[in-house]
């Protein structure tokens, strides 16, 4: 099991567990993490699963793919550490991953 912590805009933290192969979005939705709307169900087609990767984890989560970069045009307050959580696959190396959830996905 890989532990992932979601930090809400108000500072509340929620740590949930995922299995390698799932996407971080799927882990969030399965555990009803607020603020991960995932309108499109993981097709990288809506930008409503936007998260900010905590700085110490950006290297391990890696770079955005081109489709994700395009889709982030539909997110708000896009930063260098912005990712769409449907495009991050859970891996053993990500155990302990910390992500901030934006105030509002829209």
């Amino acid at each position: 099991m890989v532990k992932i912590t979601f930090i809400q805009h108000n500072g509340t933290e929620q740590t949930v567990e995922g299995t390698p192969g799932m996407t971080v979005m799927e882990v969030a939705v399965k555990n009803q993490v607020p603020g991960i709307d995932a309108d499109c169900g993981g097709a990288c087609a809506c930008a409503t699963c936007h998260v900010f990767v905590e700085p110490e984890w950006t290297e391990k989560t890696g770079a955005r793919n081109p489709m994700e970069e395009d889709m982030l045009d539909f997110a708000f307050d896009v930063r260098d550490n912005s990712r769409l959580s449907c495009q991050i696959k859970v891996r053993d190396e990500l155990d302990g991953l910390r992500l901030k959830v934006p105030a509002k996905q829209f």
């Binding site: 087609a45 997110a75 509002k104």
Partner: protein, 343 residues
């Protein structure tokens, strides 16, 4: 616009489930009108993933959302459905014992015997960027769609986004605006290359400005926008003068007016039975992603199945006392005539 449209069935939503319902109802000689907030058929298949491959449609090892929509349109053509695009059904109520009345935000007025809610995740509505205080400017100087181009004549227009809507409206409104600025978060645009080139030509000719960054605050009072504060990609803030701002951040699904129609709801879904897919109000059915029953799977194929069973009960409501004979399209000359493939 106040003429009442009389029909057997109004289908709310023209996604794959709503489209295939036309087929199943059509085989039973039931005529349909469809209403959809988008400007074309396909629902999520058209709006969210037209080019993405779908692998779980029976009989298609792989099909794109756009192809599936095109094929469904072809399949239902013999039944001559009437489409009303760009409309959202805002009101639905029961009139007396037998009829329903529906009204749309665009002024359409229907009377029908059966309503089929095939609204998927709800209505597609523009995403509203969470800029502090933006609400006070909405519909006064911040707009999420262009309804009348004339409203932007002589304005200092600021368009935000890098997709087709943003680029198309930049190019179309530039000639009538007093000034035009396009703001985008990066130098790459996902819009069609033609419209990006056209915009770059306008910039080169000094007819408009292109800026990079993201809006962090708005300035103005009493709903009259005066400017937008932008954080540039270099971290420096600057201001853009504008009295008409158009943010284009795509669409998101909201349940919308469906919640006000007196239907029972279960976590924003409409509970139905699994024999007829009827809601708590007899004569109103819910099929596809918007319904809920134990074991529900949000798959396109589930929506197709639900539509077929719904049509049986719709027939009984529309033709009280008539006998419904089950027939196959492979062997029934009667059905083949309806499909236009038999004499």
């Amino acid at each position: 616009m106040s003429d009442v449209i009389h029909t057997d069935v109004v289908i709310v939503g023209a996604g794959p489930t709503g489209l295939f319902a036309v087929f199943e109802l059509g085989l039973l000689d039931i005529k349909c009108h469809l209403v959809d907030i988008l400007d074309r058929p396909g629902g999520q298949c058209a709006e969210l993933y037209p080019e993405k491959p779908i692998y779980d449609i029976p009989g298609y090892p792989v099909v794109s959302g756009a192809e599936l929509t095109k094929n469904l349109m072809e399949q239902i053509r013999p039944f001559g459905p009437t489409f009303h695009f760009g409309h959202m059904v805002t009101e639905l109520k029961k009139l007396g014992d037998a009829d329903f009345e529906l009204k749309t935000d665009g002024g359409l007025h229907f009377r029908c015997k059966v309503v089929v809610v095939a609204a998927g995740g709800g209505s597609f509505q523009p995403k509203k960027p969470p800029i502090p205080g933006i609400e006070q400017y909405e519909e006064k100087s911040v707009f999420y769609a262009v309804r009348k181009m004339e409203a932007f004549r002589g304005k200092d227009v600021l368009i935000i986004g890098g997709g087709d809507s943003a680029l198309d409206w930049t190019n179309n409104l530039q000639p009538i605006a007093r000034s035009m600025t396009l703001l985008h978060r990066r130098e790459e645009f996902r819009a069609a290359p033609d419209s990006v080139n056209k915009m770059r030509e306008l910039v080169a000719a000094g007819k408009m400005q292109m800026k990079f960054g993201q809006v962090t605050a708005l300035k103005g009072e009493n709903g009259e926008l005066a400017g937008a504060v932008v954080k540039g990609n270099d971290g420096q803030s600057f201001e853009i003068v504008t009295n008409a701002m158009l943010p284009f951040f795509g669409l998101t699904m909201k349940l919308g007016p469906v919640a006000d129609w007196g239907l029972n709801l279960h976590e924003n879904l409409i509970p139905v039975d699994t024999e007829k897919f009827e809601t708590n109000i007899p004569g109103i059915f819910a099929i596809g992603d918007i319904n809920y029953y134990p074991g529900k799977l949000k798959l396109i194929l589930s929506g197709f199945h639900e539509g077929a069973l719904m049509a049986q009960q719709a027939f009984r409501i529309i033709n009280p006392g008539a006998r419904l004979m089950f027939q196959y399209t492979t062997s029934s000359t009667n059905l083949q005539r309806k499909l236009g493939v038999a004499e």
